[in-house]
Symmetry: C2
Subunit: 204 residues, 2 copies
């Protein structure tokens, strides 16, 4: 049992560092040696715990990425209040973290989806599942918002969710290139403008 604990600790360290480096330098352009060197571990250690590089990546997505996206982007918008307000503050927080800590997990998702699209169907599927979960939570929040009178019923919840996800992935992509503070400000202002045009009980 003590052994099992040590094993888990090592696996966690590997996954953490793996996510970090894969995100920073890209999956295909980061070698296992890069990760193992940073952790002071060997090939033997790696292949003792994982079957392959791809298996390693899948484990990162399933265990680390999913949890992070859930806690940062899904859970915060499950409130009972104005869905626009919830989504807005949620994204504002995410972008604020992204400004200081380069590894905000909402965008890690988008980044990986881009990298694996058309290259690795297996990993892509897991990533798409997470993205889908985010989308569903957005749609659910918006539908509830309709019941609670925050937006009119004729609005397309799925469309709004798509637009929110798209714009967020996009702006995070731009932020990596520079001027994160300004981009965040501009983005949030426009998002508010967009939401405002649909809101009924305006709390803006």
């Amino acid at each position: 049992m003590e052994k099992n604990l040590k094993s888990r600790a090592t696996i966690n360290r590997m996954q953490q560092k793996g996510l970090e480096l894969f995100y920073q330098k890209g999956y295909y352009t980061t070698s296992l040696d890069d990760i193992l060197k940073a952790l002071q571990l060997s090939k033997g250690a790696f292949y003792y715990h994982f079957q392959s590089k791809e298996d390693f990546m899948v484990s990162i997505v399933q265990h680390l990425l999913f949890r992070k996206v859930y806690s940062m982007l899904i859970e915060p918008i499950e409130g009972k209040e104005d869905p626009f307000r919830n989504i807005e503050t949620c994204l504002e927080n995410a972008l604020e973290i992204a400004e200081h800590n380069p590894m905000d997990f909402g965008f890690v998702l988008g980044n990986f989806m881009n990298e694996f699209n058309g290259k690795n169907e297996n990993v892509s599927r897991y990533l798409n599942d997470i993205c889908k979960a985010w989308e569903v939570s957005l749609v659910t929040a918006l539908q509830k918002g309709k019941s609670d009178g925050y937006l009119e019923r004729h609005h397309d919840s799925e469309g709004i969710a798509t637009f929110v996800i798209s714009s967020y992935f996009g702006v995070r992509s731009l932020m990596v290139g520079g001027n994160p503070r300004m981009l965040r400000y501009q983005y949030m202002q426009q998002l508010r403008c967009y939401f405002k045009s649909m809101a009924l009980k305006s709390t803006f």
Copy 2:
């Protein structure tokens, strides 16, 4: 002189195929041999015309990508009419092309920006320049729109441009994953909704 023509033809073929494969499979995951095999050419031919793989990529960005982005995303919105209308039809066209032909150049730009961010400063610079050119053209169109009474002066043109670019990059990214037709429809509907909330002389 005849020789020079042949040389240019070969260079063009290489750049075309290079862009195609780099976009489909990624720059770092596409080998020169992949490209040369598709063209029935040899390493010797490649290194006769280009100094390195990076040099090759830069030449593609400068010559092919820039021109395409210019003709597809910049030129079409330089009209005198309603900037919202212009941008809208421009993106609609781009997405329509993207739906049938997987290589729409607006997104090739976004895709490459993602891939080279933080990995190759040299290539990134050229890509950012093109993106900046697009942004400038959007801002210019919006500013002219203010003069012509299509939107109120208090709106932030830079912010709108950022939001448009972000959302477009984002939705194109999602489209690669599947359901391009639906995503395009949803995106355009929401974009119209967003624009409508700012338009003065509504032509919608």
